[in-house]
């Protein structure tokens, strides 16, 4: 630690910190453009000037100047102000000053700092330079004349995204930011460029000119497009979500958000189910809630309990799943399943189905084996954490993958192959990588759904567990056995026991004639083509997709933005989101509809409102009592399946189209366009 005195305030900061960090520790705000605390230091904008008493050159850029014991720093003086004013003047020489038509207006660093350090008029009489805008795909709008060459975007793609797509070409006053080829950016994190760019050079294309930042109201929420549980902020105007931004949470997403989470928002308004429908004489007709609830209740009364089944989809909140499970169980059926993909889990211990190392814990690991997963698509933000660890200069981080590689993982890996047989080889110690894992102090294994949705998943799971034990991945103070989920609702579903109990039927059994009434709670991804025409389908959800068109009754529901919900991320972290807007038309939060149907059926329900429902939830599973990360029980060791055999076919990736994985993103025009450009690039307009 070094003691530094900032404006007379003594602070202690770790050795190697920058003067800027010391100033922040002393509560002083230092203006900056190029410095970003998650990116490497460039020190090129010169806005962060401070004075250091006794230094050879007293004015230094604080972001790139390391602290020294006993240093005296002044953050405000006439000299400093003059320096900052000059910097500002230089930056504005070529800036177009088009704030009135700039989407960054109101939240622009340049604008804000011009208030403090800008001259009221320009002394510059020469022509300004203009830069040709660059095409970066359907998500990022560029106005490159506004760029102040801070290079944050270059550093972001280089360091965080790992795609190294942007660069600075030419030099001096001609410097321009550009991708090598003008095509859609390939990173799944590209939307963060908008946040990272301090000016209006990179802004959101799909929502260009839709709002002004000061018109928006914020609601805290949780992203549901994957199981990372990214903390987000929904920005609302009227009854519309105008923008989704990440919230800072160093334990989960740092300050990043995946493109799907950010840009699916137009899907919230399209193809919505906004009123109840009942199928009469083969045709869906509009109905009132009272009629619909009675209709469903009457139907449920007529069937045998064990012929009722419920499937929960990937976006469901824990409240709705619990209410539905309670109802179905209350009617006497054990047929509930939240695994649309029929994945195999061992739920005897919570540690067996969550990401035990925790996302932040990735930074402590020193070797990683990924089996049947491609985190870049299944959890882009988590993948950025792996990359961050990999980039760390202090310690090596060897990474190996077993399974299909649909793309570049964004860091160097040892691709062992695609066959599950490799697990056996690792177990037998026949593979060089096993030594790396064994020698590591905190080795990690990530088991993904590419390995869990196969007929031999139990074998893979247990052998992987055995491997984890063999390499010492699970110990008192380190748990390196991880399941990576990509469905936001899955861990909560497992925590609540929304899986077939006892004689209960799973998704496959239910679809293949196991039930006469099937309640599909947002279950949009199950293949229902083999469902018998006699089966009565209750579809409850927000988007009219395949399942809704097959439904006999449609109960319109709320998206994650329209309800207060509990979500458990892949780590087992319980998080709450808040209701930002109202559902469209007559759509209602799912749990309340389920509750009403339960009442109509006189099923005993120990809850009447959200509060008591959440109370009940903590009784069902105490992990819900506390928001945040719950310490998971240690994964248990091998069961009997470890002797089984693997199937021949290779481990394939679970996500074939990153952009279209759920009903919201499938309804989004932006996501559809992205998908078309990425997966059928010939269609890309020559720009």
């Amino acid at each position: 630690m070094a003691k530094v005195i900032v404006d007379g305030i003594p602070v202690e900061v770790p050795n190697g910190s920058s003067v800027l960090q010391a100033c922040e520790a002393a509560g002083k705000e230092i203006p900056r453009f190029c410095y970003h605390d998650k990116l490497s230091v460039a020190g090129n904008c010169r806005m962060c000037m401070v004075e250091i008493t006794g230094a050879r050159k007293p004015l230094v850029s604080s972001c790139s100047h390391p602290v020294m014991e006993g240093m005296h720093v002044t953050t405000d003086s006439e000299t400093i102000r003059t320096a900052r004013r000059s910097t500002m003047e230089l930056l504005l020489i070529n800036h177009p000053l088009d704030c009135p038509i700039c989407d960054q207006g109101g939240e622009c660093d340049l604008q804000d700092q011009a208030v403090g350090y800008g001259r009221d008029c320009s002394r510059y009489t020469d022509e300004k330079r203009a830069v040709v805008d660059k095409y970066m795909g359907p998500l990022i709008r560029t106005v490159m004349t506004r760029c102040i060459q801070c290079t944050r975007c270059i550093r972001f793609t280089n360091e965080i995204a790992g795609t190294a797509e942007l660069g600075g070409i030419y030099r001096g006053t001609s410097l321009e930011i550009t991708p090598f080829i003008e095509q859609s950016l390939v990173s799944e994190l590209s939307g963060n460029l908008i946040d990272v760019c301090p000016v209006g050079a990179l802004t959101s294309k799909p929502t260009a000119f839709h709002y002004r930042s000061w018109e928006l109201k914020n609601t805290d929420s949780i992203d549901v497009v994957d199981a990372v549980g990214t903390n987000i902020m929904l920005q609302i105007r009227g009854n519309e979500v105008m923008r989704v931004l990440p919230r800072k949470n160093d334990d989960v997403n740092e300050e990043w958000l995946s493109d799907k989470g950010r840009f699916s928002l137009d899907g919230l308004k399209r193809r919505r189910l906004d009123r109840p429908w009942i199928k009469k004489n083969g045709k869906l007709v509009e109905a009132s809630w009272t009629e619909t609830i009675q209709y469903v209740a009457d139907k449920l009364k007529t069937v045998a309990a064990d012929r009722i089944g419920a499937i929960a989809g990937d976006l469901c909140d824990a409240e709705s799943m619990l209410a539905l499970k309670h109802l179905v169980n209350g009617l006497g059926s054990a047929n509930t399943d939240c695994r649309q993909d029929n994945a195999y889990y061992d739920i005897s211990e919570r540690g067996n189905y969550v990401f035990n190392s925790s996302i932040a814990g990735i930074e402590d690991a020193d070797a990683l084996l990924v089996i049947g997963s491609f985190p870049r698509q299944e959890a882009p933000v988590l993948n950025a954490r792996i990359r961050k660890r990999w980039l760390s200069l202090t310690e090596q981080f060897p990474i190996a993958y077993i399974g299909e590689l649909p793309d570049d993982p964004t860091y160097k890996i040892d691709h062992l192959g695609e066959s599950p047989e490799l697990i056996n080889e690792l177990l037998a110690g026949n593979h060089a990588f096993v030594d790396i894992l064994k020698n590591a102090k905190r080795p990690m294994i990530i088991l993904g759904h590419g390995a869990l949705i196969r007929p031999d998943s139990k074998v893979i799971f247990e052998k992987t567990m055995a491997l984890a034990n063999a390499i010492g991945a699970v110990s008192e103070d380190w748990n390196g056995f991880n399941i990576l989920h990509h469905a936001a609702s899955r861990v909560a579903g497992l925590d609540l026991g929304f899986i077939p109990q006892g004689q209960g039927k799973d998704v496959a059994a239910m679809i293949n004639g196991g039930v006469d009434v099937l309640w599909m709670l947002g279950a949009d991804e199950v293949d229902i083509s083999t469902l018998s025409p006699e089966c009565f389908v209750i579809y409850q959800g927000h988007h009219g997709e395949r399942a809704a068109s097959r439904a006999d009754v449609i109960l319109p529901g709320a998206t994650y933005t329209e309800k207060s919900g509990t979500y458990v991320n892949t780590e087992g972290r319980v998080q709450r989101s808040f209701r930002a807007i109202c559902p469209p038309g007559e759509a209602k939060e799912e749990w309340s509809v389920i509750c009403s149907i339960g009442q109509a059926l006189a099923v005993e329900q120990p809850y009447q409102n959200l509060e008591t429902l959440r109370q009940y939830m903590t009784e069902v599973n105490p992990v819900f009592a506390q928001c945040g990360l719950v310490k998971n029980s240690v994964a248990v060791s091998v069961g009997d399946g470890a002797q089984g055999n693997f199937e021949k076919q290779p481990l394939t990736a679970v996500i074939s189209d990153y952009f279209l994985t759920n009903s919201i993103s499938r309804a989004s025009l932006t996501m559809n366009e992205c998908s078309k450009l990425r997966y059928a690039p010939s269609a890309e307009a020559a720009e």
Partner: protein, 209 residues
């Protein structure tokens, strides 16, 4: 990069055998993990190969991706370097690249005359243009570090020194005939030794051979 250059970009580029041999030598100079440092040298290899193949020394965009692949870096990193240095031509140029130094010593010694002579002999009107016959491209460059023998006209990689308008015209005529004369000083001078006889500030001009 201009509209024009987008149309003339070749669809592909592969190193020929000669280039491969050069690359092997170049890469041997760097530790394997630091081979990205060879980017400038490799861009020269590209430019020279283009000269051999098309009589025009320039670096097409596809070649940048080829270099990037070879060095295992992102193509935009190569693009950055290629655009940073004026020595890399990003569009096709004439068979001979006439580069007149216009920095102060050369200018004092008459570089303006050299420029005029170049323009007259080739029909080029402005810097950056290529003559109609495609033989010459004229550029102005900054100090070539050979001020002792100013003014300098650099043709491709070679320096022609102590130029005059006459020697420039003659040189261009010879080049047009496909005759590249020996480079170096165009007058009675050995390397950058004094004209005629060697002498130092302390001695009279006398023969010290």
């Amino acid at each position: 990069m201009s509209e024009k250059s987008m149309n003339i970009q070749p669809a592909e580029f592969t190193f020929d055998q000669e280039s491969e041999q050069q690359i092997e030598k170049i890469l041997a100079k760097y530790p394997a993990a630091r081979k990205a440092s060879a980017v400038i040298s490799l861009l020269y290899v590209v430019q020279n190969q283009m000269n051999r193949e098309t009589k025009s020394a320039w670096v097409p965009k596809v070649a940048m991706s080829v270099v990037a692949k070879r060095l295992e870096i992102s193509p935009v990193r190569v693009f950055e370097v290629a655009t940073f240095y004026t020595m890399f031509n990003l569009e096709p140029i004439g068979q001979y690249h006439l580069q007149v130094c216009g920095t102060t010593p050369c200018w004092l010694r008459g570089s303006d005359d050299i420029v005029t002579a170049c323009k007259n002999a080739t029909g080029i009107k402005e810097f950056g243009q290529t003559s109609d016959d495609g033989m010459f491209t004229l550029s102005e460059v900054e100090c070539l570090g050979a001020c002792a023998n100013a003014p300098i006209l650099q043709v491709d990689h070679d320096y022609y020194e102590d130029m005059t308008a006459e020697s420039t015209t003659k040189l261009i005529d010879l080049l047009r005939q496909g005759n590249k004369p020996a480079h170096g000083s165009m007058i009675d001078r050995f390397n950058s030794a004094p004209i005629g006889k060697k002498f130092s500030q302390n001695t009279e001009a006398k023969d010290v051979k």
